[in-house]
Assembly symmetry: D2
Homo-oligomer: 329 residues x 4
């Protein structure tokens, strides 16, 4: 592996994004695309903010807006590992992208979809890509963890071949969002989250719900992000698809809560992490109230080796810069 | 009920303490006994820091030290509602009182045990006392909640007859002490904690584990509490029974974590509460990791009425004063 | 205890019945009352086929029909140990007694209700009666086991003071009635069933759902039971309150399934048991499908002592005789 | 699909066997190999009676004995979907094959292992084989269901492409073997069993533990099976690897309990099924006692469509013939 320093070859970090096609997924992907030193090797899709089919359409729509249809998109799981997919919680609109018609996109006539899309599934693609570049890929997980858990079950060495894994998901103080005590991505597929935490043998960084709550943005502050780039395609597109969520927040005098955006930022620049804790964490699978809750062994009661780094606080300024870059050109 | 204002008759608050006979239970009882405006009507015992038989012996030993053998002691449950009693976790020594021989107490020849003790059990006594003075009794729960849950199951109006209930127990950020994610008093009898939270119809104040963690005392600071009263019986007694725990903390460069003491303080003086949250809280009964964990519905996902006030922060100075008064004479 | 042989004093067996006021409870009580060698010391009530208040009214109505208002009735639990009472499953009509108006009873003007009723609750009464006659009482449990579990939690020796306990409840092949895999009496209060099986230290006989299924009666066969006693008060009363259930069965070409009747028969005459198994049995408390299911350790996997005798088959003829005697005069 | 009648092309049924390398797996495979009208397309391996590596060695050793090294063997999962592999329960010896040294096999010098083995994993192989012959493959599952569940999660249409699936696993009266209430294959991977029962869209036949208990063979009866073929390689091999289990049974005066053998027989000849029930069945995932137990909705409480045919009884004679044929030449 000549020419590679710390998992980075040719001065480029290699990312694969596994996402569930919501507005924050879109923004996170744009944050990654904005970085010239990062090569986004592939995007895999998973049900979550919408059906997996819709997620695929959303991702391709976004790639057309960003003029990056060269990036292959691989279709993943349509349901959690165990049980049925949820049929509510479509926070970002029924299509995950704010329910604004694609035909109104200024660039909707483009349809140069990647060739490899849909020919290979997400799990085989993950296995192939990661096996081809052992130690190089940073996997950024922005949705339920079904695809990644399946990849790991098919190849127990999958984790060892990753550079690292950054996950938006879980909670570390028992705060729930869609249900009383668990976070959406873990809630909809607790078994996959359990598998990832307990079996993925690579540095694993968790951006949890309590971190998101700590870093909410005033709506005015959030809207300023688009200000400088009013006319750009990406800014224009984001403004359209985020308008539903922004309106909800405005009406409730609530803050915008960035989820996948923080995960992307942490993956792009580890130095934005101000405080973190490296611990053993797992997922409750059997509780009546707590199924899907992340459980942290803060005092090493179980005597298990640490398996995750929970981000506790981030530096706001560099984070805001990464967020602004997403749509600045 | 002439002559009673806000549940207080004749200028005296009436307390019943249900306790499990550890060092902090002893200190909490002394804090209550130190207050001339509080009438400690009875003490009921429950397994926890020791077997229920030992807890009864501990409480009577303490009452002899305090020269208050007039207070009746009623023997309660020897095991949780469902399942077997724990047989480990004897943090305060095997007898709950630091394993220092009673014969060495300066006052061990006294044995004027209360007449009513052991004739009536804790649950019938709780029902009788509370029914006799509806709206007057403040119940201070310092151990597993088995007795109180049984009283409530026998009389569904038990809670309505209380003035209020202050409980040391539970957690609100998923931090565990004896196990990964639950607090001792809730952990050893989750069903009783569930019953209390879901069915006790009176103002219920929770002093949880995270509050205790926030208010740890440096060992030097803790030892200063005894300074002024070196020769007193109570201070002398506390110094002897706490020496085991204090030594553990010193060796680990750790703080003394006051549990039942904070609950007693909150029960004695509500104004020491600096910050609190009134919420719906329940207890997970079925989890593999989380059985016994308290679960808080911070965002009213379940739409249930609030049933508990969680103390989030207390004022240190008045709290320290109450603590100091416990052994100051 | 002179004059007592094998728990029987003065040639009389002493029974206490704990029941939930359905049609089969009524018939079981009549079976017991028909036996001159049995002294029915008391009846305690519990929610189940109706609310506990309605169950009390049903039992007193039955005792008036049977001209036995001398038997005290004690009001018990209105809800299970943990959680809310069920609000469906009123199989025997909304009042548990087939929804036929009491005013039409031929004897509805009688209201000589037992003096002790409602003054003492079921649990204190159970404790008092059983403690007064250690080793003599046969406890026949025909409803959810809440009262009995509470008695046992208040006095750990409660079971040791019983002669034996015969329970209608549970299942031994995983067959459910109201839900997929548990039987009604265990389903509505699994924790109490668990406590009874694991902590009641007396011979415990279980009449489970699969036994009931094995001994269903053709409707014609069932109706013949009343034939000889057409004009009697008891037969007349039973025919009225059972008509709802009998009609359901007839319409479905299904058999009448005697539940509490078999338990009464087994309690009255152990020799009707043709086949039984003495095993360790417990109750699943945590399952998604199986909460409330009885679990039998047929092959002693757990190495625990046997705690229950499951009746596997009964002799039909003597059983039918006991059933017929219930309303024959 | 000309030339195919009812999933059978060219007069041959096509089988794939997924197995966990125990003595009964071996015998089941020999039963299938003995049938000239069945084409055993492939064998996939899974942990269970031994580690997955050992299972692969066992299967190849068996194929050398049977002179069928042309059949490809694909290595599957080394652990259940969720959680750790069990490390006890090695009933057939630590190697699954009675712990008799391979070097003593009369044919141990053969090592013509199939070319495709180990190059492709079990799950991709299952997907490829079944997709290539939609509607033709009978899948016979003789171990934990991890491989099959993974195949189904990767391709939701996997089941629809099968002719049928015959599974040795589960229980329908709550009888356990390795633990109190669940059967080994379901016990070690309950999530996979749950997925198969709830999502595999093909005729699914279950050979459960209670059926096995009903059809135990006296040891003498079992040993007679080898009588006619004393000198044959297969009979000789089976006698050596089964001697450990046979001795255990003899010492305990217990019967030989054929598991995988019955599943193979049912797969080879549906007419040996004497009685069966087509029902909705699922698997308990969360119970303390019942995790892994199969739960049957006998009375359609849940209103779900039937998803499995449980074999309740088989005809003994044709079954014994199939068993005898396994080693008769
Ligand atoms: Ca997302
Ligand atoms: Ca305490
Ligand atoms: Ca009943
Ligand atoms: Ca097998």
């Amino acid at each position: 592996m000549a020419g590679r320093v710390n998992g980075v070859r040719d001065g480029k970090q290699r990312f694969v994004v596994d996402c569930d096609g919501g507005v924050d997924d879109a923004q996170a992907i744009l944050m990654i695309l904005a970085r010239s030193d990062v090569d986004l090797v592939a995007i895999t899709t998973v049900y979550g903010n919408a059906s997996v089919g819709q997620v695929g359409r959303n991702v391709r729509r976004l790639l057309r807006v960003a003029d990056r249809t060269d990036i292959p998109v691989y279709a993943g799981s349509h349901a959690p590992l165990v049980g049925l997919p949820h049929t509510n919680y479509f926070y970002h609109g029924s299509d995950g992208f704010g329910d604004v018609p694609e035909m109104d996109d200024k660039y909707s006539d483009e349809d140069s979809v990647s060739d490899t899309a849909d020919i290979e599934g997400a799990v085989p693609a993950l296995l192939r890509l990661v096996t081809a570049r052992p130690g190089e890929i940073t996997l950024v997980c922005l949705g339920p963890l079904t695809n990644v858990a399946l990849a790991l079950k098919l190849d127990p060495n999958f984790g060892r071949k990753l550079r690292k894994c950054v996950i938006m998901g879980g909670n570390y103080k028992g705060r729930g969002n869609v249900v009383i005590s668990s976070e959406f991505n873990f809630h909809v597929d607790p078994e996959s989250a359990f598998i990832i935490l307990n079996e993925l043998s690579c540095p694993t960084v968790l951006v949890c719900w309590e971190l998101v709550l700590k870093h909410g943005l005033e709506i005015s502050e959030y809207e300023n992000l688009r200000g400088d780039a009013a006319g750009g395609r990406k800014a224009d597109f984001m403004k359209r698809i985020e308008s539903l969520v922004v309106a909800k927040k405005q009406n409730a005098h609530a803050k915008y809560l960035p989820c996948d955006e923080i995960a992307a930022a942490v993956a792009l620049d580890a130095s934005i992490v101000k405080r973190s804790a490296t611990v053993y964490a797992t997922v409750e699978l059997a509780g009546v109230c707590t199924r899907g809750q992340m459980v942290v062994d803060w005092t090493q009661t179980l005597g298990k080796q640490a398996n995750a780094t929970i981000v506790i606080e981030i530096h706001k300024d560099p984070y805001m810069n990464l967020l602004k870059m997403a749509t600045c050109n």
